[in-house]
Subunit: 137 residues, 2 copies
């Protein structure tokens, strides 16, 4: 979903009623320059900072999962305590900063094409994801 989107229209188009909670969440997620990596907790915190009326935790969960199902968010592969989501839904990889616990995008074109030389009979590859963990030098 793009930064200067008419969120109300966009939501309606995809069959999601544009409630004020959903529009507010859209603004927090998509009205920004860079892609946004977040956990549900971080999102809840951001919303309550920007909003005078609070949004229920259950609504945040519902909305994030609805957006994921519609393809507006991607869930990210990490073995951490909490689940991360990403507003960048194109195919890409990630750096994970062990010291700050932050995720950073690693674009497809910044990785030399990966060749998997092993095949599994009867199975086809659906995705190849790279996680590059980094530490301070």
């Amino acid at each position: 979903m793009s930064k200067n989107c008419n969120f109300i229209e966009k939501l309606r188009e995809t069959g999601l009623r544009p409630t004020k909670q959903r529009v507010k969440i859209c603004e927090v997620l998509y009205k920004r320059e860079k892609t946004f990596h977040f956990t549900i907790n971080e999102l809840v915190k951001k919303i309550s900072e920007e909003n005078n009326e609070k949004i229920s935790l259950a609504t945040v969960y519902n909305t994030v999962h609805a957006f994921k199902k519609k393809g507006y968010l991607k869930e990210i592969t990490l073995n951490n305590d909490s689940t991360y989501f990403d507003t960048n839904t194109s195919h890409h990889h990630h750096f994970y900063d062990n010291s700050t616990k932050e995720l950073i995008d690693l674009n497809d074109e910044d990785v030399e094409k990966i060749q998997i030389k092993k095949t599994l009979p009867g199975k086809k590859i659906s995705s190849v994801e790279i996680l590059v963990k980094v530490d301070n030098e």
Copy 2:
């Protein structure tokens, strides 16, 4: 830890008291041909199948984390519900079968060398992990 290890000696060497619970867990984990990928729940189930006396759930958690700290187990990067561990502690990658929810080893030499063309200032790469998700054909 190798298949035909003297677990009692090996544990003692690394400063872990060889209790009967730990030795039993070693047997379940390492007395097998192939590397073993498991969740805590699966491990508890395997133990109770092979063992007449039950081992407390807390002990299984304690032991798995102690083994991980000693480098006998590796925790695996997956955004699933439960956390996976791996008895193969060498550097390697994984297939994840979406239909069976199983992990399969993908050795380092089965992947063409990965070149990351982007660098992060002040950060050094500590690991590069690939997760290849597969579905039925």
